[in-house]
Amino acid sequence: MPRILISDSTLRDGSHAISHQLNSHNISIYAAAAEAAGVPIVEIGHGNGLGASSLQLGESLISDMEMLQNARSHLVNSKLGIFVIPGFATINKDLSMAIDMGVDVVRVAAHCTEADITERHISYARQKGKEVYGVLMMSHMASKETLIEEAHKMELYGAEGVILMDSAGAYLPNDVHEKVSALVSNLTIPVGFHAHNNLGMAIANSVTAAEAGATILDGTVRGFGAGAGNTQLEVLVAVLEKMGYRTGIDLYKILDAADIAEKEMMKVIPTIKSESIVSGLAGVFSGFLKPVNRISDKYGVDPRDVFFELGRRQVVAGQEDLIIEVAMKLAQKQEEK
């Protein structure tokens, strides 16, 4: 029976859904539940990864160190993972600290055309003996040929797998099949897929990825994540089981973990709201949802127009500053009318 490595980013991507306000209790209780369920990798941190807590991206309630320390104390068989975007996370200040805290898995991410920036972080984590993966974010923005080239670079830097991230929830199953199978045939390392649910395709896309040869899939319980949320992990586990894949996760216990997470962490369970559909169609990072809504409200413009304009400008994570500019221009146009 084929195996799928599940990486659970509830305590990382989920952080976006509550403006990065995860507290120690949330982390303790969910890490323990994930450990009990046999989740292979539990990813922890600010939504944008290690070192990303800032005024611009949102400040975490507790420090990276506290989060990792806390999670580490509850994870024995499950591996402790972190998400790292070079630039937000520096090697000396952040990555070395995380490794000292006992992190097992390091995922180094870059915009899908910028794998070059991951070399030092991947090399460093490999030198420290950690399991390292490369992540290509916003992968809907690049052709399969470009993705192969960028993924290949990550492989050469030492990544032990490459994950395509559908950061905007913009993929349809055909896109997933085309790109994942292209990577599978051209890389010598495992390929993974990380879906978002803007167009309601997260489970379908994850399953398509597995059928196209991906062996690593990401998810979060209840789809806890930015905007419309991620692949709903407990559903994914159930579906994969039904299809004959092995995940090593105990279904009842991951269902329990989802219930716990819903009760303890989620003010609102992610649903596919109008803006999320628009952001998926526009191909804009799901993490933009809250700031787009807030800024659109402030300038009295339609957030859907803001999303489509941001999509036209092909914005990527880290360019949140542009939301204000776009909202101001739209407001100006409205006034001119």
Binding site: L5, E119, E149, T215
Partner: protein, 348 residues
Amino acid sequence: MNTNKLSTIQKDCAEATSGSIHLLSKLKDECILITGGTGFMGTWLAEMVAFLNDNHSFNSKLILLSESSQNFIVKAPHLAMRDDVELIECDIRNVMEISNEVSYVLHAAANPDNRMHASDPIRTMNVIANGTDAILKASLRLPSLKNILNVSSGLIYGPQPLDLDAIAENYHGGSDCGSVASAYVEAKRFAETLCSAYRSQYKMSIVTARPFAFIGPYQLLDKPWAINNFIRDSLMGGAIRILGDGETIRSYMYPSDMAFWLLRILVDGTSGLAYNVGSPHGIALQQLAEEITHNFTIKPKIISNFAGGRDLYKSRLVPDVTLAQKSLGLSMKVDIAEAIKRTLLWYK
């Protein structure tokens, strides 16, 4: 460097040359220029020549040319301070004039680190292509030049078919020239052809070596290759992690053997021929990892990559070295178990 380490190197060189000193006798009283002279390969070649001078009165002079020799001075002060070793700092692409006393040129300037090839493929190709052209042009003017050894790469054959036991020099595979990962390999192929062109047009004596994989002292454990990672992780007290199912096959030669082989090819290799340099004894990565664990009282764990839903990629890279063995009388003195043991001792 401490005396134990120096003594280890001395013993390695003695072992590699044992009963075969006469095979290098043409180097006596000669001046050898090594480009890329301060890297892993250059350092071992310098150790070997120093050993021959000190113990067998070869009276050879060595010029080590590299972009920067600062790391070398720190890494091997016992070599850097020798009277018979001269360090020259120069970008290989800008080499114009070589000392007239040089009679042998061993061109090994290139960085085999595939992280660099991916990050800066243009520089990778530029250094190999233009560097080779520069050194060949400069060598044209040498009045007493006897031979040039162009160090190519075992990777130029492209992927080895799994059903081919070992790659011989006459195997014509190839890499995907449209891939960024091919920058190094394609540049090395170009360099070989360029050498052939110089040989043909200027009647220069040029021989080629195609090195495969090596493990031993001076090789940095941060290099992104399986055995380096296995040894590093085991020394750090961690688990040895194997990508895939452990059935990928590699072979490894100990560097004192490598240095002896390269010098032997330099002095007596037939112009126009290429010689594989490496171990013909393939070993599966799983077996390699197990071999490493035998050196520890508390054995490191071996973990295979979990994500194995599909047929995992397997590869094989093992040279056929019959040509070097038969025509140049070469053999390997250090097997893989001993190579691992000595490498671990060096880094402990």
